[in-house]
């Protein structure tokens, strides 16, 4: 097998990007109701596991997962959902790629683990909530007073990113397991994996 990425592989990445986006966007619509926003860190990796596991059967060369992650970052960023994802997505992408490579792109366990790591890109969407906390806090103080502002900030603790990170990782693993099941049950038998 040729190890260099061919144009054909780039098209595959594009096709799966579109699938991932549409599938995840269906879920992400929930985000318009803000109390569901934390829930998205669980749902998006969960659903995305299905196309991603299918994608991995076609991504057997170093770089495809990485390109996928860079693109996710760019597109999420350019769609106005925050600029942090442009940085977090490639980081999780390169880690996921390394895990896959260590398994020779054939190990089932590593591919599941890899998607868990890949899924942590969603954390980029939550960084602004924590980073801009101080700004928001000072605005609240000037507007409504110290005490009130502190109660409010209690709703979004400093450490809230860490559980979200874990949640996205775990639901990624779960999503990958579901994806694996469907892969065996359908995609392999239908002759497309």
């Amino acid at each position: 097998m040729k190890q260099k990425i061919q144009p054909k592989d780039l098209i595959t990445v594009g096709v799966f990007l579109a699938i991932m986006f549409i599938v995840c966007m269906g879920v992400a619509m929930l985000g318009y109701i803000p109390i569901f926003i934390p829930l998205l860190s669980v749902l998006v990796p969960l659903i995305g596991g299905i196309p991603f596991m299918l994608f991995l059967t076609k991504a057997r060369k170093f770089g495809m997962v990485l390109i996928m992650s860079v693109m996710i970052g760019l597109v999420v960023g350019l769609m106005g959902m925050g600029v942090w994802v442009i940085a977090t997505a490639p980081i999780s992408g390169i880690l996921a790629e390394i895990i896959l490579k260590s398994g020779g792109y054939g190990s089932v366990k590593k591919s599941i683990f890899s998607y868990g790591v890949f899924s942590t890109w969603v954390i980029g969407n939550y960084i602004p909530i924590v980073v801009t906390r101080d700004n928001y806090f000072s605005m609240l103080v000037s507007g409504y007073g110290q005490e009130y502002a502190e109660t409010l900030m209690g709703y979004i603790p400093d450490w809230s990113l860490i559980p979200l990170l874990f949640a996205s990782f775990l639901s990624g693993i779960l999503g990958a397991l579901i994806g694996r099941e469907l892969l065996k049950k359908h995609f392999v038998r239908a002759g497309i994996a």
């Binding site: 990425i5 061919q6 144009p7 054909k8 780039l10 098209i11 595959t12 990445v13 594009g14 096709v15 990007l17 579109a18 699938i19 986006f21 549409i22 599938v23 109701i33 803000p34 109390i35 926003i37 659903i47 299905i50 196309p51 299918l54 770089g63 390109i67 996928m68 860079v70 693109m71 760019l74 597109v75 960023g77 350019l78 769609m79 106005g80 959902m81 925050g82 600029v83 602004p128 980073v131 801009t132 700004n135 928001y136 000072s138 605005m139 000037s142 409504y144 409010l152 709703y155 469907l182 359908h186 995609f187 239908a190 497309i192």
Partner: protein, 242 residues
């Protein structure tokens, strides 16, 4: 959203795609995380108004009005509802209004970018920005594929309705399976055909690709860029001064 991507354009667009991208990034970074006080109080409302003005220029009246309505609702909610509510309700109001007034402008700008830029304009912009083929090809395929996935998605929805497969009727797991499996399979098949057709027409040749799509900067681009640069200067200034 993808319905709007399908237009082809006669003549040049109002703004260069690169300008639009810069706008998205500026708006998302400044309106979401820009802080308060001083010049921020001027630049933030200006940036917030930009998507509205652009929708008006493109004669997308409905989108423009929706944008204004939601923004005003969120803003006045923050102003009037937050002080008079308590407890959980207060949390909801703060979360809703805070989110909408901060994220709406960025998302509106993003949807403007996507809905007013054709695929070839995107390609041209990405190529001029010096992005390698390894990124421009997946990007253009993705945009090409959005409408296809959308079409497949709704056709599968029709088929499910006809066979009486509804939400609530069965287990959600089964629903997911019935939705996703045909979608994945059709998309992969169409993707394979698309690859074959594109490759036999030389996509990915190891030469520098031409793009006959004419993009370039005009007066408005310069104006918009100045606003963006100004915004970032204020942002950095504010950060440095504490």
């Amino acid at each position: 959203m993808w319905a709007m991507m399908l237009q082809s354009r006669q003549g040049r667009a109002f703004l260069d795609p690169r300008t639009k991208m810069l706008l998205v990034i500026t708006i998302t970074s400044i309106v979401i995380g820009g802080g308060n006080g001083g010049a921020m109080n001027i630049i933030k409302p200006v940036l917030t108004a930009v998507p509205f003005l652009l929708f008006v220029v493109e004669r997308k009246w409905k989108t423009a009005m929706t944008y204004v309505a939601v923004y005003i609702a969120a803003f006045s909610g923050e102003l009037f509802l937050v002080p008079i509510t308590r407890g959980f309700l207060n949390f909801i109001v703060v979360a809703c209004c805070g989110m909408f007034s901060r994220f709406m402008p960025g998302i509106a700008m993003g949807s403007y970018l996507v809905s007013t830029t054709t695929v070839s304009e995107f390609m041209a912009a990405m190529e001029r920005l010096g992005l390698p083929q390894k990124l421009t090809i997946p990007l253009s395929v993705m945009f090409r594929f959005f409408p296809t996935v959308g079409e497949e998605y709704s056709a599968i929805g029709d088929a499910m309705r006809m066979r009486g497969i509804h939400f609530g009727g069965g287990k959600p797991g089964k629903m997911l399976e019935y939705r996703m499996v045909p979608l994945m399979i059709s998309c992969v098949k169409i993707g394979d055909e698309l690859s074959a057709a594109a490759l036999t027409r030389g996509l990915g040749a190891s030469v520098k690709r031409t793009n006959i799509c004419r993009i370039g900067f005009g007066v408005f681009d310069v104006l918009v860029m100045l606003i963006c640069i100004l915004g970032f200067c204020i942002l950095i200034g504010n950060k440095c001064l504490g």
